[in-house]
Symmetry: D3
Subunit: 132 residues, 6 copies
């Protein structure tokens, strides 16, 4: 049950099918998750978001699993239920161990705590952080 | 100019000095940044937060630089000005390259964007994410 | 199943019924959504929040549909599941087209992305923005 | 004084200059604001973010000023100081009146308030919002 | 230096002066802080926001200082720099001790940390919390 | 149905059982809520988080119920569904009345509203708030 229509491959137009095919190829799986099926209501957005995600999340100077962890951290702070679920799944799919996941949670929790302390006390930024 | 009093070493009690000494030892620098000087108004909190941070941010199953990046990601999403400044500085201090920083920003930006899309459409979480 | 009690018209006191009647009159529908039924546990809050909403969301210098879009934007950024659902429904009820909804999502997503970039880099505010 | 280097036109490479030229052309002003000068440290990001912004913020099914208001709403909820300043300035530049600005603030404030009430009471989403 | 015009008593119209007078009377001080001077650009909003604040923040079933602490907690989580400053000042003005402030910060920090853990793990809400 | 495994007492190791026993003793109930069962996948985190929570939430200069209200305020602003449910339940368990809960909601809503106004107008912080 959902507000947003989920566009299935069978009912999709050519533009959407091209993106779905590329998702399947890049991820080496037949499964298209709901985020893309929802976004497929707006084919131009689907193309742009998928293209950006494919480029940004690919291994580069930062490896792919680390990128997933960074993505999860943002999603937790933003309380994005869908994104936390889908990218935690993606991170495990890319080899995250249980021990790494435990450490990821610990770093997120520490940052959340210290964000609260720094914002609560309105700690002035040290002069040295403005130099480079 | 600052609301919160910043406790300098010279005026600090023994409990606070012990933590400051440990910060200097672990970080191999004489510099104590304002976050700790502000927290030093509450010695028990200073001890607890420093102990947690030392443990959580140390290299483990996730390496130290990656932990800094995760920390930055949370702080950006929470708009914690102080934390973004101090941990971006820390990440560069731990060897983050300009190219890595550019990728870090790109991943954060992508996650922010997609958090907005997933929350905006209220995409239902796929059944497969509830299995393990 | 819900933590909060939802107050139905039949069991409501006179103060609550007056607000419910006004909601029905203004919105031209019999349906009272759960937000108001939950708030009705606190009749003074119900009155104040409804009065403010009726005044603020009415067409003025900004038209009613635009106001709904602004409301949705805030709710998405705050990850308020209920508010996103109810106001997306309201916006469609006020004539939002699918194409407009697609553009609304795109603007929200862009702002989210750029908020991350600006906060991540801690871009200094241009002097010209402090002049008027 | 700033952590992030601001890339001026004179020192920029060809890729960055091309974007700066396009910003000047589209906005009909010589002024390049700091957001772009900061992002110019990462030419590929600069190109992608500018291209997305140019496309998304252009008048379409939603007019340009309304898009600025939606953008501001997200930025306020995310406490993005830079974005609030720059897009409030942009909105006034696109003809927002003082009276419209007052209503924009009122809608943002109302949504913030009601987000707090709905999340605080954890109001269950009405069944009718899942139908379409 | 500021984007928003701050309306001084001397230049204010009758509606604004009436609110300023009431602020001075209720708070027993001549000082009008910038929040009200900024809001005074929109006299109707000034009246509504002041009236709501006066009513909500007055001692009732929850005492005035506790209300200030709750207000601060929300403002920290939302990274509202202005609100954290002004309400921390207000709380000290209402008798908050340094020891209480230290505990307030500790509770905020704990909640921030645990919010991160609960959202990170997407802990399912216990059935018992849906009963009452 | 849940992504995260919930660790039951019967299958838990000695470290986890010790914490569960302490939770039961301190709270005078047999019920262990899901937050702890999820965290029990990481015994060291379970110990640290429980120890911090036990210390911070205990009555001190601020009484226990007030601490719960502060905790709820942060959780609402962060849209942490789990935390809002569990700590609202805890607050009622510690004697919060319906009238107090109504006032708590009103203060949270007011702060949310005013956070939006202050961030929206980017009100400059008064000089007097930087003095002490």
């Amino acid at each position: 049950m959902s507000t947003v229509k989920l566009v299935e491959y069978e009912e999709a137009g050519a533009e959407v099918r091209t993106v779905y095919d590329d998702i399947r190829r890049v991820r080496q799986t037949d499964y298209i998750n709901n985020f893309w099926k929802a976004l497929a209501n707006y084919p131009a957005a689907l193309q742009r978001v998928w293209a950006a995600g494919k480029e940004v999340m690919a291994p580069g100077e930062i490896e792919a699993l680390t990128k997933e962890m960074i993505y999860i951290a943002v999603s937790v702070a933003n309380a994005c239920e869908y994104c936390v679920h889908s990218h935690t799944s993606a991170a495990f799919g890319k080899g995250m161990t249980e021990a790494q996941y435990g450490e990821l949670l610990a770093v997120i929790a520490l940052a959340q705590q210290n964000n609260g302390l720094a914002s609560g006390m309105q700690v002035p930024v040290d002069e040295i952080y403005f130099q480079k």
